[in-house]
Amino acid sequence: MIRMRTRLVVLQVIVLAVLAALGLRLWQVQVVRGQELVNRATETRTRSVIVPAVRGQILDASGRPLVRNQTSLVVSVDRAGLLRMPDQGLPVLRKLGEVLGEPVSSLQRRITPCGPGVGKPCWTGSPYQAIPVKQKADTREALQILERQEEFPGITAEVQSVRQHPGGRAGAQMLGYLQPVTEDELEKREGLKAAFSGVDLAGRDGLEYVYDEELRGKAGLRRVQVDRMGKAIGVEEQRAPISGDTLVTSIDARVQTIAEQALQHAMKNAPQADGAAAVVLDPSTGRVIALASQPGYDPAVWAGGISAQGYQRLLSNATGKPLVSRALNGMFAPGSTFKVSSVSSMLRAGYPINGTYNCPGAVNVGDRAFHNFRGIGLGSMNLHTALVKSCDTIFYKAAYEQWLKDGGLHPSPKKPAKEVFANTARKFGFGRPTGIDLPGESAGRIPDRTWKKDTWAQTSGTSCKRARTGYPEEKDRSRAEFLKRLANENCLEGFLLRAGDSANFSIGQGDVLVTPLQLARAYAAIVSDGKLRSPRIGWATVRPDGTPVSRIEVPVVGKLPLSKKERLYIKSALSQVPSDGTARGAFMGFPMKKMPIGGKTGTAEVWGKQDTSWFASFAPTYDPRFVVVVMVSQGGMGASTAAPAAREIYEGIFGFAAYKKKAALPGWRPVSKLPKFRADGTVAARVVTAAAGE
């Protein structure tokens, strides 16, 4: 018995030790790590669901919707739920594909989260989010899913609001589009990593992108308590969403549509045209009235998640890359429209404004003869006529003289080149983005001496190699020979600004590139107050109930290098072009007496392609309220393609068209007052002049 007793004592010690071990561990788990485990418990027990806010509308200057919300039936897939099902939910997807008329493989790709090796169309949102697979389901499809929920586990059909564009294709690039927000963006935005059941979108381009913060409002939050199976068993916290602000723009929906149509007609008339842009500005304010680009596309393709082919199509050459706005990103040599800058350069270089200049058929620039258009000499003239008749040789000669003055090929280090032509062009806003409230604008290019050096540093390798090897792949012998000579020239002295480069630059040819928007704002500055503005599309933001939030001002970013007298001189020359100058044909029959138009045609040669057709204009000449710039890539002569398109836009604005007598802008003025909102947020009827305009 003694032995048993001893062993019992040992046993007691062991039991007490074990109990102590349990107690210590409990203390560690519950007291020391308690808070950490509370957090993990909250994580496992609750699901935070973002309730998307209703996105603000985008309105035109009169309060007409450019982008509005439309409720629609959205079919979504709960991917996490599907993956837990047998066969990863493939049978359910297959059935869904039958209902929606979409192959299973396509559905599968669209619900796979994007990642390394997973390209578009993939799912950019949170993997825990219900993924919308059809944004505009019809009632029949929705009912098929809702009524047989047991056959469609993890599939929901619910009413959601989607973006709708009443104008269809008009201004699609400018308005931009939405895509599902990524998890990172959402975390940054809401400060929480949340699984969310609704669809939350972020602006990815255009106004939707730039004004995303104002438009999107503040998402609400629902923290739902769930059980082990993810079934919601209660709401822990609820915060209602705050709707986004409405963005009022200075765009006029009617003018926008007219501009798009005018471009379409112009492209139809110039069969080789591959793109066109039109910009309508209010020169006195710098606000944008229309910003059109062709080819366009229907922004409805974004709703409901774009398909693989759909996205590729928007990027392909076959459709002419309709996502790219030619107005901001189309960079082309401006041709004669650029002469407003060159005349100013001459004035700044000291050429007298009242002087008489000879316009011969050709001038020698260095060792090469530079010809007028068709080599015709126009005799003596002043600068006014040089603009109206679009004489080239006067500008060639002046540019060449300035080039020589700057030291020619090799400026002396002691006396740095002044580069009057390039620097004046910069003051007109060329060579840098205008700063418009749209993303991804191009800067254009001013080919001065520095640019030449930089470009040569990047390209001399290729040029020098080509100078040695030639172009054996080129079938046309003479062309190959020309290219080889060019390569050799570029290799040896590509860093030098040659006399010919300067001459070409003075008439907007050669390496100079501008965007239609840059040209439009330069003309706006000339015909208004000489101030260079950063154009704005956004005009004001208002709460959904109409309370004003903020007015978007147009910043002045520069001043033209012209005195008022010089400016008016140029303006008066431009005023004569459509009536007496190069655009006379295009404006034949236009009621110039009622509404005198001023402007300048431009025809820029593009090596190996058709000419770029330009027309930069304003109306009325005595008090310009509109600046209209039209560019048609590969459109041919400015007078034959772009000018008629501009005329069509004017006819629409003023109601001169034979088939449409109603003016898009009654009163023939840009809308100058923000629309009035009723208490419920709807827009009050426009001022009565709308009806009484004509």
Partner: protein
Amino acid sequence: MDRTLMAGRRSFARRAVGAESAVWRLDGVMLVAVAALCVIGTLLVWSSTRTWAPGSTGLVKKHMLNVGIGVLLCGAVAMIDHRAMRAYAPLVFVLSLVGLGLVITPLGATINGSHSWILLGGGFAVQPSEFAKLGLLLIIAMLLAQPAEGSDRPRGLDMVLALLAAALTMGLVMLQPDLGTALVLAVITAAGLVLGGVRKRWIFLLGLVAAAGVFCVFAFQMLEPYQVARFTAFLDPRVDPRGVGYNSTQSLIAIGSGQVFGKGLFGGGQTTGRFVPEQHTDFIFTVAGEEFGFLGSLTVVLLLGVVLVRGLKIARQCDDRFGTLVAGTIVCWLAFQTFVNVGMTIGIMPITGLPLPFVSYGGTATFANLISIGLLQAIRIREQSFN
């Protein structure tokens, strides 16, 4: 009225509460601790089943019935002279073997993935392996309680018989298979041998054999894959947090989130959301941890400790070898089950399907546990009457 009958009644009443009565020799402290555990267990079963049990209280009512039956069994066993029990030991053992045998016949049923039940009809079922613990415990105590002539060590033959009995029981349990119960049976056997005074070298040798056996089990992959997975998950729950590691991760989260004071009865979100599986049975301790906090869960451990320590006291104070052995073995059994069960919920033991004594839902286990308390009380009552 018949006077003698009246007198008989009076005398029964007097006997029941009189100074000589066995009632006063009961271990009150242990009984209070056990009662407290049963009450806490009932609350925890209620909390963990109220969201899904039929009529919300369906399971807790059944649990209360089980506890009631268990208390009656406990009382009945406490009345029996434990030395008479020695005579019944072979019978109890054989009956438990028969029960285990029935489980592997078509009468057996599988509930919650373990094939260890016999359905009785009317929604009732018994788990013979719980009774097998008692049966083995009693037969081993009986065999080892009679020392060899002139020695206080058990006879070699008895030891071999005890090992055979253990092997037979464990073999039947492993056929189900139920690793947890088999481990409890091994502990009971080991406790019987050690406390029975078997020589250290024999114990050492048996230990070696057992170790070799465990090694073989692993080496020849005799375990079911899920058992290996549970063990791997115990070593590192992050291996597969959604799969086998899920239980241990979730139970740790539930217990830890109770912090010091707990979230209050019915206030545990993890419990309500049923994140911990088997929460009213094997993982009932997580409910205590979440809803009663550190203070509550420590109380549960301490109450179990009181039962164990009082049990050891009974074992020490008992004069006969059989009583001491039975009491000591019961304590080892309950201690092992407590440690493994609580330990697995707080991540210091691998996950094994063992209920927490007196607290977990489960009729047969409750009966067996309360019967063992009855045995301890019986031993205590009788030990002093011969002082």
